[in-house]
């Protein structure tokens, strides 16, 4: 199992599917403490990403793409999200993918490169959003995911182990945003009333990282979890 540009494509296509499936759930979370558009925003963005990747796939079909840098795919994702999502999450996810693309110039990612990718993404979100852990934003999912990925890599885990650690940590961490009082983003306007609801951006981060792991597990031809990429 190698994490190459094809994996990156599978990752974002799976994210698009996951977002589509969870669109109403994300929107409902955002309706509780925001403005009820997060599902629609990400759906619009990842549909556009898929369309861009489809178009790019036609261009490169027949060419040997085995040494295509992973970052090339991530950069397409970044610019597409930036120009189609809007809202707060568009620039935030856009910056995450842009920074990730910059540290993913090689055609294959080893465990430490995966950690570097995630660290760069987190750094992008946190610096763009000027947010820290505990403010009830997507940073509250990204930070534990990065921490867990770093530990998994230090423990000698392979790429999949690293991604699994990140995904599982993000999923739990998204849930853990429920009691928090928001101090960044639109939910902060609610003050204390923001407590008791999961942060939509933290939930979508968990979906994104879950898709990264699933794409790795599935392999180029569908593979382990049975779903075609």
């Amino acid at each position: 199992m190698t994490l190459d540009a094809d994996w990156a494509e599978r990752w974002v296509r799976r994210t698009a599917e996951a977002v589509e499936a969870a669109k109403d759930e994300l929107t409902e979370l955002d309706r509780q403490i925001g403005d009820g558009d997060h599902g629609e925003n990400l759906h619009r963005g990842f549909q556009a990403v898929v369309a861009r990747l489809d178009a790019a796939a036609v261009e490169v079909s027949g060419l040997d793409t085995s040494d295509r840098p992973v970052g090339d795919v991530l950069k397409i994702v970044a610019t597409t999200l930036m120009s189609t999502v809007g809202g707060a999450s568009g620039p935030l996810y856009g910056t995450a993918f842009l920074r990730a693309s910059k540290v993913s110039g090689r055609p294959q990612l080893d465990p430490s490169s995966v950690v570097a990718l995630l660290e760069a993404a987190l750094e992008g979100v946190a610096s763009r959003g000027k947010a820290q852990v505990g403010e009830k934003t997507m940073v509250d999912a990204w930070q534990p995911a990065v921490d867990a990925a770093e530990r998994a890599a230090q423990d000698g885990g392979d790429e999949i182990a690293v991604l699994r650690a990140a995904a599982e940590a993000a999923d739990k961490a998204a849930h853990d945003t429920i009691p928090l009082v928001a101090t960044k983003g639109r939910a902060s306007y609610l003050g204390e009333r923001s407590a008791g609801h999961e942060d939509p951006g933290a939930r979508s981060t968990a979906l994104l990282l879950g898709a990264a792991m699933a794409a790795a597990l599935a392999g180029p031809d569908g593979g382990a979890d049975g779903a075609a990429a």
Binding site: T27, R31, G34, D35, G36, D37, E40, N41, R44, M82, S83, T84, V85, G86, G87, A88, S89, G90, P91, L92, R128, G129, T183, K184, G185, R186, S188, Y189, L190, G191, R193
Partner: protein
């Protein structure tokens, strides 16, 4: 959900198409990316003014494009900030060689997307200044929030900065007067009923028949407090007092009083609020020398209103009075 719409996904596009036809003498509406610019392009030598944000607040901002106000407006999806690839061409279209002022409401999304667009514009040697509008006193401006939101006070910033630009002020001066308006304008709103975002199909929050939300924004977000339904006089006081206190109005101050409808409340009710707000201000020894009553900064079909007070001096008053010719504001 019952709305005069076709496919909810086309809500913004269909509405802009109608707007373009109805006001072809004033604006050009561009698609792909979507932005609105004044007819005949930028005015040579004049500072350009650009604003934008999510749709659903009509007539803000596209309705304020024209002589004496904005040169371009950038509508995002409903309640969703526009993207940098929309904002950039709007900044470019507004540039008449004297630079551009971007008027940004203080929302994380608007701020981030405008920031990116401004960076891109500067990379292409466009001179851009940004002003952040944050007039909503319902939100505490502290380290522990994203800061106060920009709401109906935005209209005053756009009108007055637009007049300054029309008079030939340079970019720094236009930005200064815009910041002066921001420093002197405060707002607060109430919802009697929520609004429904077309693609969601569900009310943005659920309110019982005898409850209202005080301190709402303009995106269907719930407010700061949910309180029992009260009389117009009581509600007006609950909005006006925090506004006047935050502005630290003192006897002898002169103000613009702007009662804004949220989209679903009839004009007759806005005048009831206006009358009470005016008496409250006069009770504080404050003179209301300029007024505006109407639904200008809306939240789809939300029922409710907001009160905006702008402390005036001779400069701001004269700029407010200066001619304006847009789809929604004209004198």
């Amino acid at each position: 959900m019952k709305k005069l719409l076709n496919n909810p996904a086309d809500a913004v596009a269909d509405s802009l198409a109608g707007f373009a036809l109805a006001h072809a003498d004033l604006v050009d509406v561009h698609r792909d990316p979507v932005y609105v610019s004044r007819k005949d392009g930028a005015v040579n030598g004049k500072v350009g003014l650009v604003s934008g944000g999510g749709s659903g607040h009509e007539p803000l901002h596209a309705g304020f494009v024209g002589d004496g106000m904005l040169d371009a407006a950038v509508p995002g999806a409903v309640f969703t900030s526009p993207t940098p690839d929309q904002i950039l061409p709007a900044l470019q279209a507004a540039d008449g060689g004297a630079g551009v002022l971007a008027i940004v409401k203080n929302y994380t999304g608007d701020v981030l997307n405008f920031e990116t667009a401004v960076e891109l514009a500067e990379a292409e040697d466009l001179q851009v200044e940004s002003v952040l509008v944050n007039d909503d006193v319902a939100v505490e401006d502290s380290l522990y929030t994203a800061g106060r939101r920009g709401v109906a006070g935005t209209l005053a910033v756009e009108k007055i900065a637009g007049a300054a630009a029309a008079r030939g002020a340079d970019l720094a001066a236009v930005a200064d007067v815009a910041r002066k308006v921001v420093a002197n304008v405060r707002s607060m709103g109430v919802a009697l009923a929520a609004c429904t975002v077309p693609h969601s199909g569900r009310p943005s929050f659920d309110l019982a028949d005898d409850e209202i939300e005080i301190g709402i924004g303009i995106h269907g977000e719930p407010g700061r407090h949910r309180v029992p339904m009260a009389s117009a006089d009581e509600i007006t006081q609950a909005l006006l007092d925090p506004v006047a206190d935050d502005l630290t109005l003192v006897p002898g101050d002169r103000v613009l009083l702007f009662v804004n409808g949220m989209g679903g409340s009839p004009l007759s009710e806005l005048y009831v609020v206006y009358g009470r707000a005016r008496r409250l201000l006069e009770g504080r020894g404050v003179t209301v020398s300029r007024s505006l009553v109407g639904s200008y900064v809306t939240s789809l079909e939300m029922q409710g209103a907001s009160i905006t007070v702008l402390r005036l001096d001779d400069e701001l008053e004269a700029l407010w009075d200066a001619p304006v010719h847009t789809a929604a504001l004209r004198w």
